[in-house]
């Protein structure tokens, strides 16, 4: 028999409310996010075309941010399922910059290495790597690399599409590189430093 006290100390630490979370997300979002103005009306969750696949509706995610549930919020697949349709943004009665908050949460999840499925972060990273390398995006390279890694079983299904796109020359075989790639790299390098410092 454990005493009540022992039981208390041996229980896993309860999640501590992290009241700085909401402010942090708001601060890191482009523009004026107005996240703290959310009235939990649910118009965002009601508007969302991909809500069915989300762990939490956007509204619920914002409630979790307010409650300081950092781990659970960053683990949520919701930001990764958001398709940036901006339906919620224009309908939100409080003009919360919802889609941009989703971008912030993605970057915070990547930073904290908190996500359930690496498909989306990898896709974004692959895309960004290419842009940083060439200054342009390169659809063929991206799609194949991405599909090989994440949906190898789907590849045969996707083949007709890929072949179609290739035969119609709608995918570049060789990527173009911009002339000012050195300049772009310098800009991005500085940008990362600025971001780290702020």
């Amino acid at each position: 028999m454990q005493t009540l006290d022992q039981e208390r100390t041996s229980a896993p630490p309860k999640q501590i409310e992290d009241l700085s979370l909401l402010g942090e997300v708001s601060h890191r979002t482009a523009g004026v996010s107005r996240l703290e103005m959310c009235i939990q009306c649910g118009c965002c969750g009601g508007s969302c075309p991909s809500e069915a696949d989300m762990d939490h509706t956007p509204r619920m995610l914002f409630a979790m941010l307010r409650a300081g549930m950092r781990h659970a919020a960053l683990m949520s697949n919701t930001p990764w399922i958001c398709v940036s349709c901006y339906h919620c943004v224009v309908r939100c009665p409080q003009n919360v910059h919802i889609a941009d908050v989703m971008y912030t949460l993605k970057s915070m999840a990547i930073e904290a290495k908190l996500y359930q499925d690496s498909t989306a972060p990898d896709f974004s990273q692959t895309f960004v790597d290419m842009v940083e390398e060439f200054g342009r995006s390169f659809e063929l390279g991206l799609a194949t690399r991405h599909y090989l890694k994440h949906f190898p079983l789907r590849l045969p299904n996707m083949a007709p599409m890929g072949i179609g796109m290739l035969s119609k020359q709608r995918m570049n075989i060789t990527p173009t590189r911009i002339k000012g790639i050195a300049q772009l790299k310098a800009v991005l390098k500085r940008a990362k430093e600025v971001e780290a410092a702020s």
């Binding site: 890191r28 979002t29 482009a30 523009g31 075309p49 991909s50 069915a52 696949d53 930001p79 990764w80 399922i81 398709v83 940036s84 349709c85 901006y86 339906h87 943004v89 224009v90 889609a99 971008y103 993605k106 970057s107 990547i110 498909t119 989306a120 896709f123 974004s124 990273q125 895309f127 960004v128 842009v131 200054g135 995006s137 659809e139 991405h146 789907r154 299904n157 599409m161 179609g164 796109m165 119609k168 020359q169 709608r170 570049n172 173009t176 911009i178 002339k179 000012g180 300049q183 772009l184 310098a186 800009v187 991005l188 390098k189 500085r190 940008a191 990362k192 600025v194 971001e195 702020s198």
Partner: protein, 335 residues
């Protein structure tokens, strides 16, 4: 001649070649002088924003900085791709709304010897420029082969009419600009209720099942409305609805064959240009049958739009709202 700075974006050179080809083919006819930004770079689509904020906005802003340098008497940047349009427009807007973002971006740009003063350019979508600057009257006057009988579902997707911080469009949910332009071409424009619903965006890459459902909704609604084709203005929408249509069919055991065509291709057709010079044939779901319909003397009489209740004891409907911007009342009236 109206002069503009053009930001084509990556897709215009690959997956959306039909868009670029047809755009180039019609610019002279309607007197549009587009000057491409020298050595522009990718806008980062919807990907970079989810990784790091400042680099993402710096990436976008390099283009703004280059465009401003090259401006030469004009301040309008035209983007035909909706994701590019949104990224450029949003960056410009947020850097004004939140000056510290502008400062950070400029610190980064300085590393490449560049700078950009937020608010010094007008970022506009191609359709906006065509409808409001070139004007529907001009467009109409160039039509030599009206698209009479072609039932077109106008489809804009999400990122052109939303979030529209600068209030450039008649509405976020049911903007009328594309409808009016297609009307000017003589097409039979369907009142398409899903015209600004999402095509799935990058979900075709990340969570295909999510995307397939969104594609199904759109294609089936267009089919339900007996559209011959869907007209779009976004490379991503065109790609998702066209290239992934067969996967979607497989996924849901359906058999839709809905061609998805860029609106500039239809403009070219109406201006009398050859289909082959307008990028037709690049689409995976062929528009052959749809095109074959044009010119038929007696087009099938299928009613367009929602019928108003008749004089059968039914109650009258309210009159449509005069088309100004419904949200701000600041918007312009379509001429």
């Amino acid at each position: 001649m109206n002069k503009y700075i053009l930001y084509p974006g990556c897709s215009m050179e690959s997956s959306a070649r039909a868009y670029y080809d047809s755009l180039k083919a019609i610019t002279d006819i309607i007197g549009l002088n587009l000057q491409e930004i020298e050595d522009w770079n990718c806008c980062g689509a919807t990907e970079y924003l989810g990784i790091k904020l400042t680099p993402a906005y710096a990436l976008i802003s390099r283009n703004l900085a280059l465009a401003a340098q090259q401006a030469d008497g004009t301040r309008t940047v035209v983007a035909p791709c909706s994701a590019c349009y949104l990224n450029l427009a949003k960056a410009d807007y947020y850097m004004q709304e939140q000056p510290v973002l502008g400062q950070h971006v400029n610190e980064a740009l300085a590393a490449g010897g560049l700078s950009y003063k937020p608010g010094s350019l007008d970022i506009r979508h191609l359709l906006d420029v065509l409808v409001y600057d070139v004007g529907l009257d001009t467009i109409k006057s160039k039509v030599v082969r009206p698209l009479t009988g072609l039932r077109v579902a106008p489809y804009l997707g999400c990122m052109v009419p939303r979030p529209d911080y600068e209030h450039r469009w008649s509405d976020y949910e049911y903007p009328v600009e594309l409808d009016r332009l297609l009307n000017a071409l003589g097409a039979d424009v369907i009142e398409f209720p899903l015209k600004t619903e999402c095509c799935g965006g990058h979900m075709t890459q990340i969570s295909p099942d999510t995307a397939f459902e969104l594609i199904r909704r759109l294609v089936s609604a267009a089919d339900e409305h007996q559209a011959d084709l869907m007209a779009t203005l976004c490379p991503m929408c065109q790609m998702n609805l066209d290239a992934y249509q067969s996967e979607t069919n497989k996924f849901f055991h359906t058999s839709y064959r809905m061609p998805v065509i860029f609106f500039t291709q239809l403009m070219g057709l109406a201006f009398g240009l050859e289909a082959k010079d307008l990028g037709f044939g690049l689409e995976l779901v062929s528009a052959r049958n749809a095109l074959a319909k044009i010119g038929i003397e007696h087009p099938a009489e299928i009613p367009t739009g929602t019928a108003r209740p008749k004089k059968d004891g039914s109650l009258p409907m309210p009159a449509p709202l005069p088309r100004r911007n419904m949200h701000t009342e600041k918007g312009k009236v379509v001429k």
